[in-house]
Symmetry: C2
Amino acid sequence: MKNTDIEFMREAIRLSIENISDKGGPFGAVIVKDGEIIAKGTNRVTSSIDPTAHAEIVAIREAAKKFNNFNLSGCTIYTSCEPCPMCLSAIYWARIDRVFYGNTKIDAKKIGFDDSFIYDEIKLPIEKRSVKTTQLLRDEAIKGFKKWEEIEDKTDY
Amino acid sequence: MKNTDIEFMREAIRLSIENISDKGGPFGAVIVKDGEIIAKGTNRVTSSIDPTAHAEIVAIREAAKKFNNFNLSGCTIYTSCEPCPMCLSAIYWARIDRVFYGNTKIDAKKIGFDDSFIYDEIKLPIEKRSVKTTQLLRDEAIKGFKKWEEIEDKTDY
């Protein structure tokens, strides 16, 4: 851990606290590349009316836009709270290298956020999850995947 | 399962196939409330340069905007592929009631998408995940959560 890690985490925490006064949830994140903050995010779920607008997602979308690249390899994310499964998965999809976090999913649970519950749900087999989930028309859906395999000039990611 | 479920799933599949010709990945989703499609989404990761722009996320953001509500209780999502952990978590955060899916995460893996890998990673304890993850400054971060608890007129979700 370097002094700069502490600095960047303090900025994420500062954003999380500032966001409360700005009608948002108590979450902030910054994305850093080559020692510089390239994107910041705060939780905008209620203010943007977007259930996906967690601090990390907002920061990832901004960083990708800024770099004109959906692949954020070489970046580190500093987030005031352990990423929920949505944000953690987005971190994988974005190919971010490293994660620093402050509060835990248990801390989040204690103030009323579902992070911990969703972690538990994802681990369950589909038929045991609280969201009723049914497979349908796989024989038709697979045609899209077959067509994708046949394309030669596609952009993999 | 009703005939309408089949119809809605066919529309999600149709979108997934159409999206390939539109430079997107082979994924489509529709969100239905009271027997009507209220939002549609396709995978726009490469075309929108947004690693979070999976079909389900795009549809959820559109539905929330349309209803002016981040809570999509009473809605069903039909998606051409089993939701990845990012999208499944977004489904929980959005309070969507039901999920129908076509292809599986293993089908997605076979054509080069990381859905299955990310499911495996999320189940691991933090220290065993391939993304190096470190807790930092929890004693400072918790101040944001304490401030949140003290607010009386906050919007819970």
